[in-house]
C-alpha cells in the first residue's frame, strides 16, 4: 500500500475528532497533513544522533530512548522535601533540555517554508493549517516530555505520593506551554530584526549547545546524587521572579508543604498567569511571524564582510607561498561557514575545554591548592588534543561534496600544498584558540614552571595533527565527501588515535623525569616537525 505508517498518536487524536469539528477544523485534511509530517519526522536525524549515520528505522523513536536515559538525572531531585530547591533545579533541567531540543530539532518543522507553497496552494483553509501546526508541535512536545520524565514521575509517584504526581502532570503542562510560546517568541523576535541566515546561525549554535550539554550532562549524572543531602535555606530575592523554574518550585511548596508565605504565592501565580499571557501575546504576533517567515527564503539583510584579523595574522606566520595562501583562506572560510562541520566538531571543543578543568577539580577536592600546584595535573591538558582527530576527520566532508570538482578543474600542481594549507587552517581556527585559553588558565594555576610543558604540547599537537590527517585524508581531498557516508567506518581509527595521545602523554611524562629531558624532547620534536611539514 502507499499509505504511510499509521501513527498511534493519530489514532488517539481520532477520539477527539468531534472536538476539532466543533472548532470548524477540517479533520480529515488535518489528519492527512499530520500523517505526512509525522512520517517526515521519522526520517529526520535528530541532533543528539549526529554521530551515527544509519538511515534506517524510526530515527525519532530512537532519539526518545536517549532522552529517557537522560531523564534519569531527574531522579536525584525526587528525594527530600526541600521543594523550592529540588523542584526548581529539576524544572530548570527539564526546561533547558526540552527547549533546546525543540529549537534544534523542531525548528526545521516550524520554519518549513515549503508548507506555504505545497499546502497553501491546496484547498485547505488557514484555520485547519494553523490547527495542524499546533497539534503537530503538541504531539512532539508530549512525546519528548513523556520520554524524558516518565521514569522519574513513576518513581515520584511511589516516593512522594499521588498529590506530587498529579501536581507534576499539571505543572509539566504549563511548562510545555511556556516553552512552546517562548520558542515561538524567540523566532518572532529574531526574524523581526535579522534575516534567515542569521536565524540559521543561531539555531546552529543552539544545536551545538545542546550537544555539549549532553556530553557534560553524562558526567554530571554520576555526581548529581551528591547534591541530594544538601540543606539549603531558601530566601526570597527579587530576581527569583525572573526564573521560571522557581515559580514551579514555589507551587510545590505551597501545595505539598502548606507554605503560605506571600513571596511563594507571588511566584506561584506568575507560573500560572504568564503562560496564559504568553499565549495571548503569541496569537497577537502570529500574523507578523507568518509575514517574516518569508525572509527565510530571501537573503535581504546586508552582510558585512567578516573580520579576519586572527586568520590573517596566522597566515603571515605559517603560510609560505601564494598557492598555499589560497587554500588556507579557502579552508578558513569553509570552516567558519559550514554549519554541519560546526555542529559536529564544536561540541568536542567544549569537551576539550571542560575536561581538563574537571580533572583539576576532582583533584582539588581531595587535596589542597598548594599540593595541586606542585603536582603534575597539568598533564590533563593533553585532553585538549581530542579536538584534533575529531576535527581532522570531518575535514573530508562537506554539505556540498560535489563542489569538489573545482580541485580537478584547476591546474593544481601539488596536492600536498592543498592538504597542508587545509590542516594549518584547521589548527589556526580550532586548536590554537583552545590551546591558548587553557595555557593561560594553567599558567595562572601552575605558574611559569610549566612553560616547557606547553611548548612540548604544541609541538606534539603539530605532529599529532599531521598523523591524524594522514590517517583520515590519505586518499580523499578536503571537503569532497558527503556527511552521509563513510563516517562510521572510521571509528576504529579514531579510537586508535585517541590511544596515541595517551602514549604521547606517557612518553612526555617519562622524559620529564630525566634531567634535561624536556630540552632533549623539544629539540627532537622540532626536528620531526620540520621534517613532517616540509612538503
Amino acid at each position: 500500500m502507499i499509505k504511510m505508517d499509521d501513527f498511534r498518536s493519530l489514532r488517539i487524536l481520532d477520539k477527539f475528532q468531534s472536538l476539532f469539528q466543533k472548532a470548524k477544523v477540517d479533520y480529515p485534511m488535518m489528519r492527512e497533513i499530520l500523517q505526512l509530517k509525522l512520517t517526515m519526522d521519522t526520517r529526520r536525524v535528530p541532533t543528539i544522533f549526529h554521530e551515527s549515520k544509519s538511515d534506517s528505522g524510526n530515527q525519532f523513536l530512537k532519539s526518545l530512548g536517549i532522552y529517557a536515559l537522560m531523564g534519569l538525572i531527574l531522579i536525584a531531585f525526587l528525594f527530600g522535601d526541600q521543594y523550592i530547591f529540588q523542584v526548581s533545579i529539576m524544572y530548570a533541567i527539564v526546561m533547558f533540555i526540552i527547549m533546546t531540543s525543540t529549537i534544534s530539532d523542531f525548528s526545521s518543522v516550524l520554519l518549513d517554508v515549503r508548507d506555504k507553497m505545497i499546502i497553501g496552494t491546496k484547498p485547505v483553509d488557514s484555520r485547519t493549517i494553523n490547527a495542524t501546526k499546533v497539534v503537530h508541535i503538541t504531539i512532539y512536545l508530549c512525546q519528548l516530555t513523556m520520554a524524558f520524565t516518565a521514569i522519574p514521575m513513576i518513581i515520584g509517584l511511589f516516593n512522594q505520593g499521588i498529590v506530587f504526581f498529579l501536581l507534576s502532570l499539571i505543572v509539566l503542562l504549563f511548562v510545555n506551554l511556556l516553552i512552546l510560546i517562548m520558542t515561538a517568541l524567540v523566532y518572532i523576535i529574531i526574524l523581526r530584526f535579522f534575516d534567515g541566515e542569521k536565524l540559521k546561525d543561531i539555531i546552529n549554535y543552539i544545536q551545538i549547545l545542546l550537544s555539549i550539554s549532553m556530553i557534560i550532562g553524562y558526567q554530571l549524572v554520576a555526581r548529581s546524587f551528591e547534591f541530594v543531602d544538601l540543606n539549603v535555606n531558601f530566601s526570597f530575592e527579587w530576581w527569583h521572579v525572573l526564573m521560571p523554574p522557581v515559580w514551579y518550585g514555589a507551587i510545590y511548596e505551597i501545595v505539598l508543604n502548606g507554605v503560605t508565605d506571600l513571596s511563594y504565592i507571588i511566584l506561584a501565580i506568575l507560573g500560572v498567569i504568564l503562560p496564559l499571557v504568553a499565549i495571548f501575546l503569541y496569537i497577537k504576533l502570529i500574523p507578523s511571524f507568518e509575514r517574516n517567515l518569508e525572509k527565510l527564503l530571501s537573503n535581504s539583510g546586508k552582510h558585512k564582510q567578516a573580520k579576519e584579523w586572527w586568520s590573517r595574522f596566522w597566515s603571515k606566520v605559517l603560510v609560505r607561498n601564494k598557492e598555499e595562501q589560497v587554500f588556507f583562506d579557502f579552508a578558513t572560510r569553509m570552516l567558519k561557514n559550514e554549519r554541519d562541520y560546526k555542529l559536529k566538531v564544536y561540541p568536542t571543543i567544549g569537551m576539550a575545554l571542560v575536561f581538563p578543568c574537571i580533572f583539576l577539580l576532582t583533584d582539588y577536592t581531595s587535596r589542597s591548592i598548594d599540593e595541586l600546584r606542585d603536582g603534575s595535573m597539568y598533564f590533563s591538558m593533553y585532553f585538549s588534543l581530542v579536538v584534533i582527530p575529531a576535527g581532522v576527520q570531518m575535514l573530508q566532508f562537506s554539505t556540498n561534496p560535489k563542489a569538489a570538482w573545482i580541485y580537478r578543474a584547476v591546474p593544481l600542481k601539488n596536492e600536498n600544498v592543498c592538504h597542508r594549507a587545509v590542516l594549518k587552517a584547521f589548527l589556526v581556527r580550532l586548536f590554537i584558540p583552545v590551546y591558548l585559553i587553557l595555557s593561560v588558565l594553567f599558567l595562572v594555576i601552575f605558574t611559569e614552571r610549566i612553560w616547557s610543558f606547553l611548548i612540548i604540547l604544541v609541538l606534539v599537537a603539530a605532529i599529532y595533527s599531521r598523523i591524524c590527517y594522514q590517517v583520515f585524508l590519505k586518499n580523499v581531498l578536503p571537503f569532497s565527501e558527503s556527511y552521509q557516508i563513510g563516517q562510521s567506518k572510521q571509528s576504529g581509527q579514531a579510537l586508535a588515535l585517541l590511544a596515541l595521545t595517551v602514549a604521547f602523554a606517557l612518553f612526555h611524562y617519562v622524559m620529564t623525569l630525566a634531567s634535561f629531558g624536556s630540552y632533549i624532547l623539544i629539540s627532537v620534536l622540532v626536528f620531526i616537525n620540520a621534517f613532517l611539514w616540509r612538503k
Binding site: M40, M117, P123
Partner: protein, 264 residues
C-alpha cells in the same frame, strides 16, 4: 476557443511597505488559453501568481477565479487549480508515491484513484522504477516530472506552471509541451511562466509581458511582432523592457576578462 472568462484581475496592486511592486493590473483570461507570462526578474510575476493562488492575501483590487472573488469565496476554488512552484519546493524525504498520495488526498481524491493515476503517469514519464524511492536522491529533471504530475493528478481546470521545463531533456520537454497543448484543447487554461523565450514563443497562444509592475504587452506572438517590428520574442522582450546595453555590458565583461589575464 470558448469565450468564458476563467480568471480576471481588476486594478490589482501591491506594495511592500513603501515600495510598490504592482501597479494596477487588469487582465482577463479565457478558457483554453495558454498564457506565456514573462518579464524580467523582480517585475512582479511571482507576486501576481502567489496572489491568485491565495498565498498572498493582502492586496488592492479584486481577483475573480471561476467567476468568484477569491477574497471572499473561501478556499474551495483551489480544488480546480494545479501549481508547479518556482523553486521546485517538494517534501523530498518522501517517495513520489507518498508525495502524490498526500497531494491527491488534499484534493480529496479516492486512494485507489490516486494510486492508479500516479502509477500510470509515472510510468509514462519512465519513472515507475523509482515510485518508492525517496525524492531526495532525484535529479532536477526527475523532481520536475514528479512536481508536474502532482500538479495535474486531480484534473484541474487551471494550471499555474512556474519554470516547469528547465531541467528536462529535449524528449521530455517535447512530451510536456504536447501535453499542455492537448490539455488546452480540452478546455484547460494554462498560466505559463518562464525565462526561456523560445519555449514561451512556441507554446503560448497569448503572451503577457510584465515590467516594473505593469503589463507592457499583451497579445499573440504575431501581434507583438507586428507592434514591435522585431523578429524573436527575445528581441521583443529586450525592446519592451528597455534593455539595449547587452552589447556594451558584454564587451566590458570580455575586456575585463582579457586584460585581467594579461596583467595578472
Amino acid at each position: 476557443m470558448s469565450e468564458d472568462i476563467i480568471l480576471s484581475l481588476r486594478n490589482v496592486a501591491k506594495s511592500y511597505g513603501s515600495t510598490r511592486v504592482l501597479e494596477s493590473i487588469n487582465l482577463d483570461i479565457y478558457q483554453g488559453q495558454i498564457i506565456g507570462y514573462i518579464g524580467p526578474n523582480g517585475a512582479g510575476k511571482s507576486t501576481t501568481v502567489k496572489m491568485m493562488l491565495g498565498l498572498i492575501t493582502e492586496f488592492e483590487g479584486d481577483i475573480e477565479i471561476f467567476g468568484k472573488n477569491i477574497k471572499t469565496s473561501g478556499v474551495a476554488y483551489k480544488k480546480r487549480i494545479g501549481y508547479v512552484p518556482e523553486n521546485g519546493d517538494i517534501y523530498d524525504s518522501l517517495t513520489p508515491m507518498e508525495y502524490l498520495s498526500f497531494v491527491g488526498g488534499l484534493y480529496r481524491m479516492e486512494d485507489q484513484m490516486i494510486i492508479r493515476k500516479a502509477t500510470e503517469l509515472m510510468r509514462l514519464f519512465e519513472l515507475e522504477h523509482v515510485l518508492h524511492t525517496r525524492i531526495s536522491s532525484f535529479s532536477k529533471g526527475m523532481r520536475q516530472k514528479v512536481l508536474f504530475i502532482a500538479s495535474v493528478i486531480h484534473n484541474p481546470d487551471l494550471l499555474f506552471l512556474d519554470e516547469p521545463l528547465s531541467g528536462l531533456d529535449a524528449n521530455s520537454m517535447m512530451i510536456v509541451k504536447e501535453i499542455l497543448d492537448q490539455l488546452a484543447n480540452q478546455g484547460k487554461t494554462i498560466f505559463y511562466s518562464s525565462h526561456i523565450m523560445d519555449v514561451v514563443e512556441k507554446i503560448s497562444n497569448r503572451i503577457v509581458l510584465l515590467a516594473d509592475g505593469q503589463i507592457v504587452a499583451d497579445g499573440t506572438f504575431e501581434q507583438l511582432q507586428q507592434q514591435n517590428k522585431e523578429g524573436s520574442l527575445e528581441e521583443i522582450f529586450n525592446q519592451l523592457t528597455g534593455f539595449h546595453q547587452h552589447q556594451e555590458i558584454a564587451s566590458s565583461f570580455v575586456s575585463i576578462v582579457e586584460n585581467g589575464d594579461k596583467d595578472g
